[in-house]
Amino acid sequence: MATQIELRNIEKSFGDHQVLNQINLEIEEDEFLTILGPSGCGKTTILRLIGGFETPDSGEVIFDDKDITQVPAYLRPVNTLFQKYSLFPHLNVYDNVAFGLRIKKVPEAEIKPRVDEMLGLVNLKGFEKRWVDSLSGGQQQRIAMARALINRPEVLLLDEPLGALDLKLRKDMQVELKRIQRELGITFVFVTHDQEEALTLSDRIIVLNEGIIQQIGSPLDIYNEPINAFVADFIGESNILEGIMHKNYDVSFSGKHFVCVDEDFYPNEAVDVVIRPEDVEIVSVEKGTLQGEVLSCLFMGVHYEMRIATSAEIYLVHSTIPRSIGEPVGLCVEPDNIHIMRKGEVEGDEEL
């Protein structure tokens, strides 16, 4: 795999508000890359920089080794799937999909089969003559996709395209997106605030917060080895605890010492300890490292979500066996499942 798009030292401010801070990032050819972060973190701005709708205050956007920072949007070999679809209301479905090819002066005889092919790809054959207003949100989304993909872009930028759809439709569209990306074999850069969506679809995820890249990695890496408390909290639910790293493999939190697998910290360094709710085991009171009392127990479908109060904190615990409220229990965590994080560490810090 080769690097297709590269962002180098990108800075961007709107007024006094710095949106992107020293963004360095490489996008590989044909990968499904997700930029994940809470709203206002700057993820859409990154997408707009690649699409050509914004120019950075400083830094470069490189595409196939060429600097395209100042190239206007209409000359870039990328297409965007807009959050609001932005279909042209004065054109019917066929004319919407054919729009890009007509601008490029492709002969009508060639446009027809390509529109057919695209409508087939998004499962909307027979909708050619419909007005876009008469389509449902999901259908508009597919037409927007067909309209973008008919231009055979090298990269498709997707700006929270599933945000406006209901849960069922969103799940279906996720499967569709993945299928289309695999069939066409082009690069997808996908922006979302939905961590589940990111974990399901992506080859790689970039976690962004307040204009700073927190972590870059595969979904598995990011889920299992979050670099800091923000990532851990944002990717799935977590118990985040204040802890002290006394020495290698010895951490204390909630007033108890635990064995862990981390090393190379300063002696007695204050750290964030992250434990996934499914990694907290409920045992009998005597066997537990920590003792607590069940505060609540909610049925979530596959598992039960319990809040268990110890003397210092409230733990979030997932288990398939429900406990009754008020029941005293013991809690243990395997050393493997205790994740120790330097406070405020982000991607690239270790290299410095």
Partner: protein, 279 residues
């Protein structure tokens, strides 16, 4: 809801008195003769007589006025909508403020500019050039109409372009449109509802005005509005005047149906885009 309906009662009375009844009175006068008998002679007289030529000239002048307003107003509206927010408000204010002044006063101002001893001719005399005969010609009438009605073209077009979803313009750029192509393929077609209402808002007053023609056209370029006015104020033939009004109304009705058809198609799509936005 009930109280709302009650609150509308004064309006219904007003509408009944001043719209429905007066319209029926015009129709009554139009279809009756001096003695009050039913007759179509007023219409026969109109379509046989010289007034038909006046109607034709009025249509022509209204058409050119509308065309000039469109050619000048569209680029102006477009340019204003592209301004930064604070300058945009200022520009719209500059267009609106003259409209707060009395319409006759504004038209009188043109008399002092165009007349034999007016501003332009004084200047021409000063630099030793030949004087121009500007006032009391068709050109002066069209100028006065364009001046008075231009805001009615600019404002609806501006409103449509200003409200246009920025996302559509970005989508066009994304699909390979440069600025000119974006305008031709997206902005212009989507602004047509504004153009349609601008056209009807200029054309209708332009065809029926009589004040501007009286002030700037003298008695040389009488238009249908003047002829109708004279029937009521000078000749006193209410029956013939009403018949001419009815003919004019039918004309306007046609032009309204035409623009409304355009409008419904256009606004329909613009509204639903707005709905998508809200989602």
């Amino acid at each position: 809801m009930r109280s709302f309906k009650k609150a509308a009662t004064p309006y219904f009375i007003w509408a009944l008195l001043f719209i429905v009844i007066s319209l029926l009175m015009v129709l009554y006068y139009a279809f009756t003769g001096e003695s009050g008998n039913f007759s179509t002679e007023n219409f026969v007289r109109f379509f046989a007589g010289s007034s038909l030529g006046t109607l034709w000239r009025s249509l022509k002048i209204a058409f050119f006025t509308t065309l000039i307003c469109l050619v000048v107003g569209y680029p102006l509206a477009y340019a204003i909508s592209r301004l930064e927010a604070r300058y945009r408000t200022l520009a719209i204010m500059l267009i609106m403020v003259p409209m707060w002044m009395n319409f006759l006063l504004r038209t009188y101002a043109w008399v002092t500019i165009l007349s034999k001893n007016g501003v332009i001719n004084s200047f021409l005399r000063y630099i030793g050039a030949a004087e121009l005969d500007l006032l009391y010609r068709e050109g002066a009438v069209i100028l006065g109409m364009v001046y008075n009605f231009l805001p009615f073209m600019v404002l609806p077009i501006f409103t449509v372009i200003d409200k246009m979803d920025e996302g559509l313009i970005e989508a066009a750029a994304d699909l390979g449109c440069n600025k000119l192509m974006t305008f031709i393929k997206v902005i212009f077609p989507l602004s047509l509802p504004g153009v349609a209402s601008g056209i009807s808002m200029v054309f209708i007053p332009a065809i029926s005005t009589f004040e501007i023609t009286t002030l700037l056209g003298g008695n040389k370029t009488n238009l249908i509005g003047n002829v109708i006015e004279q029937q009521f104020t000078v000749t006193g033939d209410w029956h013939y005047g009403s018949a001419m009004s009815v003919v004019l109304m039918v004309f306007l009705l046609f032009s309204l149906i035409f623009t409304r058809g355009e409008d419904e198609m256009g606004t329909g799509s613009v509204t639903s885009t707005a709905e998508v936005d809200r989602e």
